[in-house]
């Protein structure tokens, strides 16, 4: 049981913490990209605003879409959404849950980019320098004689250190805009944290029972898909092995039969076992068309979520189950009700 628990923990933690790990890596990548990116404001009144605000908003959209691309669960969600009903009804709450969890994870990298951009302040400075009221920074004698367009051009040059002569004015103006930008940044962070808090901490008040159900079934869908892929892989491997063996048998014909008759006592016992287990893994499906039908049906007509009784080992439904395939049901499982008598073992010593 302990060994099982260790393995389970590794698997479970592997799946979720893998997604969390990707999420964290993308957030770090987003911060790193911002610091590596060379921000160069055009310093022209027509383009400043577009450049500044564009740099604030377009990379987050890109990161958001990238989050969707890197998330494995997107294809699971798409498959579950688009499949024909078959024998298994579709549950919209599960689709919603999966979509919500994918979206939540994808939001983190864009949020990091927006926060870092706002805290740094350069994009706001670029976008809003032309709307500054220069009088409040003192020294407005510089722009007294200018026309409107000249004034705009003068203000648009503020973000560029090399193009703007009046150092103090530039410093004061950039401090002011940066301060507003940082205030916006903190407000955005506060709103996002508060929203996340409402969702995570207050949600149990409302839908906990339904939430347990959706969590179970969405996890089930994911695992079932993995199991099916595993089974198909095993089948393909065995199919290939048996196919190749058949080919050799056909080619060699009698010589192979003679050879096997002589060396029957040799190591072929192991080969017999592996050959048998390969045959089992084929699960009775041995032709290309049959396999195609299996795969086709898996999508168009998913089986119902109800196991037949042969798969249980007669635990609660009464001792020995009828066996279709002639299997002998295992007698003692550790938690069977049937064993009530106490065993006695007698030991004879030589003394």
């Amino acid at each position: 049981m302990d060994k099982f628990r260790m393995m389970f923990q590794f698997l479970q933690s592997n799946q979720e913490s893998f997604m969390n790990g990707i999420c964290g890596i993308m957030a770090l990548a987003s911060a790193q990209m911002y610091s590596a990116f060379e921000f160069s404001c055009p310093c022209m009144p027509e383009y400043n605003y577009t450049y500044g605000i564009g740099l604030l908003l377009i990379p987050p959209i890109w990161f958001f879409l990238l989050g969707f691309v890197l998330n494995n669960n997107v294809s699971v969600l798409a498959e579950e959404w688009k499949r024909p009903t078959g024998k298994r009804i579709k549950d919209p709450t599960i689709l919603r849950y999966m979509f919500c969890s994918i979206t939540q994870r994808s939001f983190i990298a864009p949020a990091v980019w927006v926060s870092v951009t706002l805290m740094d302040g350069k994009s706001f400075l670029c976008a809003f320098s032309i709307s500054l009221d220069i009088d409040r920074f003192g020294n407005s004698s510089v722009i007294q004689g200018m026309s409107e367009t000249e004034k705009l051009k003068f203000l648009a040059r503020i973000p560029c250190k090399d193009l703007f002569e009046d150092k103090e004015l530039r410093e004061a103006a950039s401090r002011y805009i940066k301060c507003i930008s940082q205030a916006c940044g903190w407000m955005v962070l506060l709103m996002m944290t508060f929203t996340a808090f409402l969702i995570r901490a207050i949600r149990p008040c409302f839908t906990q029972a339904a939430f347990l159900k959706t969590k179970y079934w969405s996890h089930y869908i994911d695992i079932e898909r993995k199991m099916f892929d595993e089974t198909c892989k095993e089948h393909a491997k065995s199919f290939a092995k048996v196919c190749i063996q058949q080919y050799f048998e056909n080619i060699s014909g009698e010589m192979r039969g003679l050879h096997r008759h002589h060396s029957k006592h040799d190591s072929d016992n192991e080969d017999e076992d592996t050959w048998k287990s390969d045959e089992e893994k084929l699960l009775g499906i041995r032709a290309q068309d049959d396999m195609n039908k299996v795969l086709w049906n898996w999508h168009t007509c998913k089986p119902p979520l109800a196991l037949r009784k042969e798969h249980e080992d007669g635990e609660k439904e009464g001792g020995m189950n009828g066996n279709i395939n002639g299997e002998i049901n295992g007698f003692v499982k550790s938690h069977s009700h049937d064993v009530e008598k106490k065993e006695w073992a007698v030991y004879y010593s030589k003394v």
């Binding site: 301060c179 347990l212 079932e224 089974t231 893994k281 009775g284 080992d313 073992a345 010593s349």
Partner: protein, 330 residues
């Protein structure tokens, strides 16, 4: 290396309180790092200095507080226990109170760290309160301006680059003065908190009943472990269910659509499956699973495991030929 990793994982998994403490400390370190990497930018304008500084001193602690509540596992456990219907298990308000106070204490650490670091560093105080300093305190430089100009100038103290204050001892003097106040306040708050914590630890046994405290702590830990184990069991069940569902699908399609003969060896495959522990516990249909999950929420089972604990199991007794018992499981 795998063994080490397993040990570390086991240690952390075993004690959920130590995980919470670890996360709490990590959040405090994040708070310090956030402060050092944040580019504090005092506007140096009289109307905005105070607003900006107090904003930077108050809004990040609120964010860190909410984050602290979010990343704490006990939040979920507490909300579950508080909001659940009674079912077969009576509710114990003391447990909810204990969990709540533990959660709040842990969530308050990172905000306090931010505020203390802010105060001990002093930049924010200088920005906020340089306008309120009386320049007459600092003799040696005669500044005869109008009152408003003084106001403006004082507001520019935090900004080193300004031409008025380049290499000025006046600016440095005012900065030192305000920073000294800020650090004094910071250290006093720290001292107050430590004394409060020490007093709380020393005096609590006089007031609280230690026996009930032991009980509440046990049951709050139990709730946490129970929730984890339930999730684990559900995951194992889902895995077994999925595997059997897939095998059943292959069998059904072989019999119904493909009309293939029964392979001789299929039973062995089943036996291999059954060699592992049976995880389905008799729950084999979608409706049964839904009902089970519903019942787990609406009617939590009572805290009584005598039925399983006293289930009869095989016992072995070894006797020698004289009938003397050498070893017995009984």
């Amino acid at each position: 290396v795998m063994e080490r990793l397993k040990l570390v994982l086991q240690y952390f998994q075993s004690n959920s309180e130590s995980i919470s403490n670890g996360i709490c400390i990590i959040l405090a370190l994040v708070s310090v790092k956030l402060y050092t990497s944040f580019d504090f930018n005092c506007p140096c304008l009289p109307q905005y200095n105070k607003l900006y500084s107090l904003g930077v001193m108050i809004v990040p602690p609120i964010i860190l507080f909410f984050l602290g509540i979010l990343v704490n596992r006990h939040t979920g456990v507490m909300m579950d226990e508080w909001m659940r219907p009674i079912g077969n298990r009576s509710k114990n308000p003391a447990v909810v109170k204990y969990l709540f106070s533990a959660m709040i204490q842990r969530a308050l650490l990172a905000p306090m760290v931010w505020i203390l670091v802010t105060l001990l560093d002093g930049k924010i105080f200088i920005c906020a309160f340089s306008v309120s300093v009386d320049p007459a305190l600092f003799s040696g430089k005669h500044i005869s301006f109008l009152l408003y100009t003084i106001f403006l100038i004082m507001a520019k103290v935090p900004c080193k680059e300004d031409v008025i204050f380049r290499n000025s001892s006046f600016r440095k003097a005012v900065s030192r003065y305000v920073r000294c106040h800020s650090q004094a306040i910071g250290w006093s708050i720290l001292l107050f908190l430590i004394v409060l914590g020490a007093l709380g630890r020393l005096i609590k046994p006089c007031f609280d009943d230690h026996a009930t405290f032991l009980q509440t702590r046990y049951w709050s830990n139990y709730l946490d472990v129970e929730q984890k184990l339930f999730d684990e069991t559900c995951v194992l069940h889902a895995r077994d269910f999925a595997r059997k569902c897939v095998v059943q699908f292959f069998e059904d399609i072989r019999e119904d659509s493909l009309r293939l003969p029964h392979p001789v060896f299929i039973s062995k495959f089943r036996e291999e499956c059954d060699d592992e522990e049976e995880q389905l516990h008799g729950v084999t249909k979608q409706e049964q699973v839904d009902q089970l999950l519903n019942k787990w929420y609406y009617g939590k089972p009572e805290l009584d495991v005598s039925r399983i604990a006293y289930r009869p199991r095989p016992c072995v007794t070894w006797e020698n030929h004289e009938g003397k018992t050498l070893y017995s499981d009984v």
